[in-house]
């Protein structure tokens, strides 16, 4: 009864939502090495990949462990496909093996005393369909070994495998357990870029065969942009913003969110003029007036933070164009995205090597901010 009541109560608005709906708190007491930690998570992870993004120590792994059932939250609820996994008020706490949350650990945690085939068999034996015949199960394992190119390695122990082979074995193993939710804790940490790439491709092809939401932890923004359909930003145990990737990127909810993503030019600004007719505004930024979008709900003289995606800003070769700021360059370095520039006021930009050649003589840059790319954060 308690289960039904709380399910109805909690999922009123999300009755048809598949995926994870979680709302829980957990306090870790202080230890000798660390102060107490409060985790307060409100998270929805619908179908597709949800990336938990945030700095180290923001509570990402603890969140994942609560979802998997390894750590018991102090209060709140966790639902997966409208099925209650945890409900403090209703005293429901499904043990991990009944939650069917496949978990991929940083080092993959392949059982060292078993061969690859035994690892896979262990997972296949754990699936809930007891009607499956031994033959059917063997065939399922053989198929998985084939499709992950592990057939020749079936009798090897994990210690004998290369990094890439271990990744494949871990993914094959987790797929055989037929999870309803896949959790990945920084699966590419410590891997070189080639192995990272192969893991991403593998994961994306895996998702095709796995009809389940994926929650992945990373603190690499490129990994986040590549894999995420949804984003959940965590900082110091709190969720800063949770939603579809494109909407979070388009409109970070707060300055904190924008800072945490590290993708934006953030500058203090003051509203000089508002024109509801033409739906434009005039903003004072770094002693320059520039055009912005209309800002409903704001008044003349309001001081806020101007926010522009770094990739939307254009570095100009000449002084002529309107809507541009002048910024002094403090440093530059080569990166995989071209040349990264660090400018005054904590502004970071990426330019192509050709652009950099054109402007590198000057120590000041003209940076054009397209009016429709500007948003305004309180």
């Amino acid at each position: 009864m308690a289960r039904q009541l709380s399910a109805a109560h909690f999922s009123n608005e999300q009755r048809l939502v598949t995926g994870v709906v979680a709302d829980f708190k957990k306090t870790l007491p202080a230890t000798r090495d660390s102060p107490p930690f409060d985790l307060d998570v409100h998270l929805t992870a619908p179908a597709g990949t949800t990336v938990l993004f945030g700095p180290s120590g923001s509570g990402k792994t603890l969140t994942l462990n609560c979802l998997a059932g390894f750590v018991r939250p102090d209060s709140g609820r966790i639902l997966l496909d409208n099925r209650i996994h945890f409900d403090a008020a209703g005293r429901v706490n499904l043990p991990p093996h009944l939650r069917r949350c496949g978990y991929i650990f940083q080092d993959h945690a392949l059982f060292p005393h078993m061969t690859v085939r035994q690892n896979l068999t262990f997972a296949a034996d754990g699936t809930f369909d007891r009607k499956e015949s031994a033959l059917g199960r063997r065939r399922r394992i053989a198929d998985m070994l084939d499709s992950f190119e592990l057939a020749g390695l079936a009798s090897q122990k994990p210690g004998q495998l290369s990094g890439g082979q271990r990744q494949r074995a871990a993914l094959a193993r987790v797929l055989l357990s037929e999870p309803r939710l896949l959790l990945l804790d920084e699966p590419t940490r410590g891997l070189d870029s080639r192995l990272r790439d192969s893991f991403y491709s593998l994961l994306q092809s895996t998702q095709g065969r796995l009809n389940a939401p994926v929650i992945l932890i990373t603190h690499d923004i490129n990994e986040c942009l590549r894999l995420a359909n949804n984003l959940c930003l965590l900082e110091a145990g709190r969720v800063l913003q949770n939603g579809p990737l494109h909407s979070v990127l388009q409109k970070p909810a707060t300055v904190e969110v924008a800072k945490s993503l590290g993708l934006y030019i953030l500058l203090p600004a003051e509203i000089r003029a508002l024109d509801p007719g033409r739906r434009t505004s005039r903003l004072r930024v770094l002693d320059t007036d520039i055009d912005g979008p209309y800002l409903p709900g704001h008044l003349l003289g309001d001081r806020c933070t101007l926010c522009v995606r770094q990739s939307a800003a254009v570095v100009l070769a000449s002084n002529s164009t309107e809507n541009a700021l002048t910024l002094r360059v403090l440093g530059s370095y080569q990166s995989s995205q071209g040349v990264r520039l660090e400018c005054e006021n904590d502004v970071r930009l990426a330019v192509t090597p050709q652009q950099w050649e054109q402007v590198r003589e000057n120590d000041r840059l003209r940076v054009y901010l397209p009016p429709d790319a500007i948003s305004f954060l309180s």
Partner: protein
């Protein structure tokens, strides 16, 4: 006093081996279970249980023997239960020597096994749970195999220790030649009665047997360390 090897009564040695084997089997089952509880569960009275398990290591054997007499004597509930089940009293039988050996060597096994089980990487256990394995299946298929080498070494240590109990055994099983006289008691009696040759032979044989059981254990530990270090 010239004894030939044929004239030596080997019963105490065989009894000791039997007692040590049986007590080790008990310890492996109950001790591993207790060690798992202590290493993987939080419950009230855990530290009290841990201290109680350590107690036999520090108390004099005579005190432990006295306690055992109080607990399993003919007048106590446990003693009566045993007598009702098996038709004979427990005290002053070779079975009492098994109980004595368990009390003597279980603490070392349990304390060591707890550390070993705690040191099994929890991520393997969590991975198993997330793959649908119950706690019981995880214990049998993951935790236990990963701690196997260490537990085997501890098992041979507790066998060797059980072989050598004297104080508790003589308190609860007594010294009845041919019935409850274990090898350590036999050595004591040989020395007391001035049979130095018998004492020397038994001492050497016991030492050799104990060494034979300890050596593979420490070899196992050494290789497990080498393989985990690679």
């Amino acid at each position: 006093m010239g004894r030939t090897l044929e004239s030596i009564d080997w019963f105490p040695l065989f009894l000791s081996l039997k007692v040590a084997a049986l007590s080790t089997m008990f310890i492996l089952v109950i001790g591993t279970g207790l060690a798992y509880l202590l290493s993987h569960r939080e419950f009230r009275g855990k530290s009290l249980l841990d201290s109680a398990i350590t107690l036999p290591l520090v108390l004099p054997p005579t005190v432990l023997g006295y306690y055992l007499l109080v607990v399993v004597g003919r007048e106590t509930g446990l003693g009566r239960l045993y007598e009702w089940l098996f038709g004979t009293p427990l005290v002053f039988t070779w079975q009492a020597a098994v109980v004595a050996a368990i009390v003597h060597s279980a603490p070392i096994y349990i304390k060591g096994a707890r550390v070993l089980l705690e040191n099994v990487d929890y991520r393997y256990e969590w991975a198993a749970r997330s793959l649908g394995a119950s706690e019981w299946r995880t214990f049998w298929r993951i935790t236990l195999p990963l701690a196997r080498r260490g537990l085997s070494a501890l098992g041979s240590l507790s066998f060797a220790r059980a072989l050598g109990d004297f104080g508790i055994t003589i308190m609860v099983a007594g010294n009845f030649p041919g019935r409850t006289q274990t090898v350590s008691v036999a050595i004591y009696e040989a020395v007391e009665s001035g049979d130095g040759r018998l004492a020397r032979i038994l001492v050497l044989v016991v030492s050799a047997v104990a060494l034979a059981f300890l050596w593979p254990g420490s070899y196992l530990q050494r290789t497990s360390r080498m393989s985990s270090g690679s």
